[in-house]
């Protein structure tokens, strides 16, 4: 499979919401799409292009916006492809991928609790690695490791 | 000493002690001390004390033997530090458990909580007063020793259940029920295998059973009964491969989860006492007890306490077999275990009963079995 195949399948469905298919060393490429096209992109990747395996969903905090990274694998093509969408920091929401790939469930829980990205229609968005009721999102750049947390705010009772 | 029995030795000691005290005191007090009731009473106490001491030492050595043998199976040495080759390790463990604070849950049933393990240990110890170890070391006047020993042995599920229920912990209760179910399920094949031996020996008295094995040990013709008995004994003793109730303690569902300190020590002690009882019963019923085959030279059987010596050798070999099984096999799941007990062991045990009956009917026709005086004589 070539990056052009991906572009050829996605372009008709997403039109201008497909922001680009960039080369990325070691993979098929990095597909950047607008977050409103999330569900269509996921369905197209799984059903039309055969990426049945969602390996990872990760969040990266770029301070003014956050990047949601998806890594997919295709057994037929034996290749990875990266999907990426940007969400603004003040409205960090994107549609969940767990309806399309059940493996997204726990990855999205982790991305939410660490990088504060809310996944709409996620079946079970609660804490996974951090304690229940922990109010901080530690992997944001604004969370400094060397400053003490405000102990009064620390754990909200659930 | 060849005609001395343990009771006669105890009686002699008691008699000597009381008569020495009586003659030292003198007068009417002295004569009342020498009364036969008192002598008999003290003799019984001395008998019990000797049996208790011997049993406890034997059990401690048995535990040491298991730890070392199990270690060797696992390519390691076992306990080495406390005492020479770890001989004092179990005393150290017992002392540690003795010192530990027994946590008593407030909501537990106080009487049952203490009664369960205590009764469990006591009934396991009682059996040792009944089992004969040699022609001299026996309870003498008790008839039907086999029946009595097995009856006391079967109390265990009751006390496990009492302990589990008294813990006031629903998981312990479930674990106790499972454990009791396992023991009760395997009582039936156990007793049927014993019935085979009784049919061939013609008596419920253990000394007579050993006497009946003087020409041939029962492990040969009654091999099916032996297999059933050993397997059922492993389940009764809750050893691997049938120790899921003990492993359930890992799942916090064991029946002894709430116990600590000395009460826990009681459970462990009772486990090993029952293991010793199981091995002794195998030796008595199938391996000819304290006798050796007639082709063994006389020198091997004529030294003092030879009977006890060979009995212990056989017991430890049988227990070594149990340890070998423990080192090699995985655990059977409870439902599989119960299925084996009810669906496989009982038919096999019934088969052994029929074989025993067949053996009895043809015995006098086959020269190898010799000519035995009628049983019960």
């Amino acid at each position: 499979m070539q990056p052009d195949d991906v572009r050829r399948v996605l372009a008709p469905k997403l039109a201008e919401r497909l922001l680009g298919v960039e080369p990325f060393a070691g993979t098929l490429g990095k597909v950047r799409f607008d977050r409103s096209a999330a569900l269509e992109t996921f369905r197209a990747m799984r059903d039309d292009l055969g990426f049945a395996h969602l390996s990872m969903v990760g969040g990266i905090d770029w301070v003014d916006h956050r990047e949601v990274l998806y890594v997919l694998w295709s057994d037929a093509a034996k290749q990875y492809v990266l999907l990426s969408t940007d969400v603004p920091a003040n409205d960090a929401r994107v549609e969940t991928a767990s309806a399309v790939w059940p493996s997204a469930n726990w990855h999205e829980r982790e991305a939410w609790e660490l990088v504060d990205i809310t996944f709409d229609h996620h079946p079970d968005l609660r804490h996974l690695l951090t304690p229940d009721g922990y109010v901080f999102h530690p992997l944001l750049r604004s969370f400094k490791l060397h400053e003490p947390e405000d102990l009064e705010v620390k754990v909200r009772h659930v | 000493m060849s005609n001395a029995t343990l009771y006669s030795v105890s009686y002699a000691i008691s008699h000597d002690i009381l008569f020495a005290i009586g003659s030292a005191v003198g007068g009417s007090w002295g004569r009342s001390i020498e009364a036969s009731g008192l002598v008999t009473g003290l003799a019984v106490l001395i008998f019990a004390a000797i049996v208790l001491a011997a049993t406890m030492i034997n059990t401690i050595v048995l535990i040491w033997y298991e730890r070392k043998l199990l270690g060797r199976f696992m390519d390691r040495r076992g306990a080495m530090h406390v005492g020479y080759a770890g001989l004092l390790q179990n005393f150290a463990d017992g002392f540690k458990l003795f010192r530990k604070h027994t946590v008593r849950p407030r909501a537990a049933d106080q009487v049952g909580f203490f009664f369960g393990p205590t009764a469990y240990v006591v009934t396991s110890l009682i059996i040792f007063g009944i089992l004969p170890i040699s022609s001299g070391w026996s309870s003498g006047a008790l008839p039907l020793t086999l029946l009595l020993a097995l009856a006391v042995f079967s109390f265990a599920p009751l006390f496990i259940f009492i302990s589990a229920w008294s813990s006031n912990n629903k998981y312990s209760l479930m674990g106790g029920l499972r454990s009791a179910a396992q023991m009760i399920a395997y009582e039936v094949p156990l007793l049927l295998a014993v019935v085979s031996v009784v049919i061939v020996a013609g008596s419920f008295d253990l000394s007579t059973i050993v006497y009946e094995q003087q020409n041939y040990w029962f492990w040969g013709p009654l091999v099916v009964a032996l297999v059933v008995f050993v397997a059922a004994m492993l389940a009764e003793m809750e050893r691997i491969p049938f120790d899921l109730p003990e492993a359930e303690a890992e799942l916090v569902e064991g029946w002894n989860t709430e116990y600590g300190g000395m009460l826990f020590a009681f459970f462990m002690l009772a486990d090993y006492l029952r293991a010793l009882v199981g091995s002794i019963l195998v030796v008595l019923l199938f391996l000819g007890g304290w006798t050796l085959p007639s082709w063994v030279p006389a020198g091997a059987t004529s030294f003092p306490l030879a009977g006890i010596f060979w009995f212990m050798v056989k017991t430890y070999i049988v227990f070594g077999l149990f340890v070998w099984v423990r080192a090699s096999l995985p655990r059977v799941r409870t439902d599989q275990l119960l299925r084996i007990g009810w669906n496989r062991m009982i038919p096999l045990a019934l088969l052994s009963v029929f074989l025993a009956a067949a053996l009895v009917s043809v015995r006098h026709c086959l020269p190898v079995f010799g000519c035995l005086p009628s049983p019960g004589g």
């Binding site: 990325f24 493996s103 469930n105 660490l114 | 096999l329 995985p330």
Partner: protein
């Protein structure tokens, strides 16, 4: 009894790690499962953002402490991609040596814990004895038995001591008959088969949808092994077979891991032969000095300055002993990585717990969870 939720953990001898398996049971039957993770969450990804590239390596050992060198390798493949550094060939072979010995060690550790849960006490100690030989090998060239810190950006820290390859070959010769012994003790035991056959079934399509990888996936018959499908380091030059089974149950996973150990021995013999005949440098020549001063590799020519250093993003995937692990390293030109993100195979394998645990008995949970080979350190990071 009516349905109730019980906690197996977080302190539990069976779970091999600090996590809580909540099961909803009705008597003996498991109705629902909710694994509760996070007890071992140490914030490795966050701490890495404050450390130099070479200093992150100490964290990787502790991510999965049973397969530390594999995780070091994973991180470094991505970090070297982000830093535009190419290690020399001998370093690549040494890394494969580490990873394959680590695979055997991890699988022996899995075997020992797995059979212990089923009740076999003896193979547990045989496994520990044999794993000790591998740990001794590690100690001879990395200096440690558990937390190695052996690899560096640009290669590895040092070369092998003399006589290592001969000793390693003796260890491999010792291990092959031991694997046969393990099989005799387990597959040859009727009780083991009765407890493990048909248990914890997870079929191929469902496994792929849930992101399951590694021996669990190959036991279902799915032909995926990253060392074959997307070779990294020097795996494309090595000759080995993929371990597969078709029963998708606990016994199948057992067979796959045993076969993987044998294939690892095969790989290692080839690697040892190559290492004997191809001496060379073990670290790249031109490396930035700011990688981490106390840990700078021996012989590094640090003349590249930080302000001129190009940015980059690195992505790597390895076939770790538990399955497929990913790493994503973002280099924004600073001394520290901007973001490191790891994907742990056990994370996905555990998230699929409701597919292979529901409907079985409580007494089946130890064998099934044992066959999943949980290493909590990498789940929680």
């Amino acid at each position: 009894m009516s349905e109730m939720w019980i906690n197996m953990g977080p302190q539990h001898p069976m779970t091999h790690g600090l996590w809580n398996l909540r099961v909803q049971i009705d008597g003996e039957l498991v109705l629902a499962v909710d694994p509760e993770m996070g007890y071992l969450h140490r914030g490795i990804e966050k701490i890495s953002e404050d450390r130099h590239y070479n200093e992150v390596i100490t964290l990787m050992d502790r991510t999965c402490y049973v397969a530390g060198l594999a995780w070091e390798h994973l991180y470094l493949l991505a970090a070297e991609g982000a830093l535009h550094v190419t290690p020399p060939e001998r370093a690549l072979y040494l890394r494969v040596l580490c990873e394959e010995f680590q695979r055997i060690g991890s699988h022996i550790m899995w075997y020992a814990a797995f059979v212990q849960d089923i009740g076999l006490m003896t193979p547990f100690l045989y496994g520990m004895r044999d794993r000790d030989l591998i740990l001794d090998l590690f100690q001879s060239y990395t200096g440690a038995r558990l937390t190695y810190e052996y690899m560096r950006v640009g290669g590895v820290r040092n070369d092998l001591p003399t006589g290592f390859t001969d000793h390693a070959r003796k260890v491999l010769d010792w291990l092959i008959p031991r694997f046969k012994e393990y099989d005799q003790l387990c597959l040859g035991s009727t009780i083991f088969r009765k407890r493990c056959d048909g248990l914890g079934v997870l079929k191929g399509p469902e496994a792929i949808a849930h992101g399951v990888t590694g021996p669990m996936l190959r036991a279902a018959g799915v032909r995926r092994d990253l060392r074959k499908d997307r070779p990294y380091a020097v795996y494309d030059r090595l000759d080995f077979d993929m371990a597969l089974a078709d029963t998708a149950d606990v016994t199948g996973r057992y067979l796959v891991r045993m076969e993987e150990m044998r294939q690892s021995v095969r790989i290692l013999r080839q690697v040892l032969d190559w290492l004997d005949h191809h001496p060379g440098p073990v670290v790249a020549e031109r490396l930035p000095r700011w990688l981490g001063a106390p840990y700078a590799p021996v012989g590094a020519e640090g003349y590249l300055l930080k302000r001129n250093y190009p940015k980059g993003v690195g992505f790597a995937a390895i076939e770790e002993p538990h399955g497929e692990a990913l790493s994503y390293v973002v280099n924004e030109g600073g001394e520290h990585p901007y973001r490191v993100k790891f994907r742990s195979p056990v994370f996905a394998n555990l998230s699929a717990a409701s597919t292979y645990l529901v409907g079985y008995r409580v007494a089946d949970i130890p064998p099934i969870m044992g066959s999943v080979d949980v290493c909590v350190g990498e789940v929680d990071r």
